[in-house]
């Protein structure tokens, strides 16, 4: 699902979603996204930065290109592997939020979010792989 504020940040030349200039990251969070009012990463409750999870998440190697009147974005698949305990010391992660880690004002604006459909616990030695497919985002 798309965060409503993202379209403003794109139109307002805040988020650069063309090419690979900005760094986008995927963060794991526990609270349900409110797409109408959540605008920055700080509006989300992330799992802790421990046991294989780094606070603010992992880079997705974002890139995008235009074909005709459509811009499509690609991303490299991301793996989170728990080591030394539950990933992020958490048993309540559920959502994966994508944000622009490059932008400083507003700090780390949100782009889109994915619901795993269940709270999850990534126990020690387990891996969560996020597969972005052929493309994960389009603007037309």
């Amino acid at each position: 699902m798309k965060y409503e504020s993202a379209i403003e940040q794109i139109a307002n030349k805040v988020m650069d979603v063309f090419g690979n200039q900005d760094t986008f990251k995927v963060a794991i969070h526990t609270d349900a996204p409110v797409v109408a009012t959540d605008t920055i990463l700080g509006d989300l409750t992330q799992i802790a930065g421990s046991n294989g999870y780094t606070t603010n998440g992992a880079s997705i190697t974002f890139n995008s290109s235009r074909s005709g009147g459509t811009i499509t974005a690609t991303a490299a698949d991301v793996t989170f592997t728990a080591s030394g305990g539950n990933l992020g010391a958490s048993t309540t992660g559920r959502y994966f939020g994508i944000h622009d880690d490059t932008v400083a004002s507003p700090v780390k604006p949100l782009l889109c979010d994915y619901d795993y459909g269940s709270t999850f616990t990534v126990a020690d030695t387990e891996t969560m792989l996020v597969d972005f497919g052929a493309t994960f985002w389009a603007l037309a």
Binding site: S67, A75, T79, F96, G117, D124, T125, L129, V130, G133
Partner: protein
């Protein structure tokens, strides 16, 4: 209060909206289907990220496919694939330590598909494997 179940990726908690799509099978039995859909990368990535040696051998895995939500089911193919390392599963069930000497609850790995096909380039189609065992 201590839950009477293992908290790991194999667990389906009470709030789960997951819907089983394809029954659990030995990975090697459906490998051609999975890799034919271009998802051979999953085992490579999961094996590459594995902490334990048993989790690097595809022969040790079972695979199961799910939809994350009813809305995803309405779209078609499953979006969530669970990989169970049978060696880890047996060890966890017995409460035995792993090769690091650590007792833990981990036995599962998940590939969660959030992307789709390219909207204008038919050569870049997102395929997700499904199987039916009769």
């Amino acid at each position: 209060m201590t839950p009477n179940r293992r908290l790991n990726l194999a667990d389906e908690p009470l709030d789960s909206e997951h819907i089983l799509a394809c029954s659990r099978q030995p990975y090697l039995r459906v490998r051609d289907i999975v890799e034919g859909a271009g998802k051979g990368k999953w085992m490579a990535m999961l094996g590459g990220a594995a902490v334990l040696s048993c989790c690097r051998d595809p022969a040790n895995y079972d695979i199961e496919a799910w939809w994350s939500t009813a809305a995803e089911k309405a779209k078609g193919p499953p979006d969530l694939y669970k990989f169970y390392c049978r060696v880890c599963e047996a060890r966890v069930e017995a409460g035995e330590p792993d090769e690091r000497g650590i007792v833990h609850d981990g036995c599962c790995k998940v590939a969660f598909c959030v992307g789709g096909s390219h909207p204008t380039d038919p050569s870049r189609t997102e395929s997700r494997p499904m199987w039916e065992i009769r």
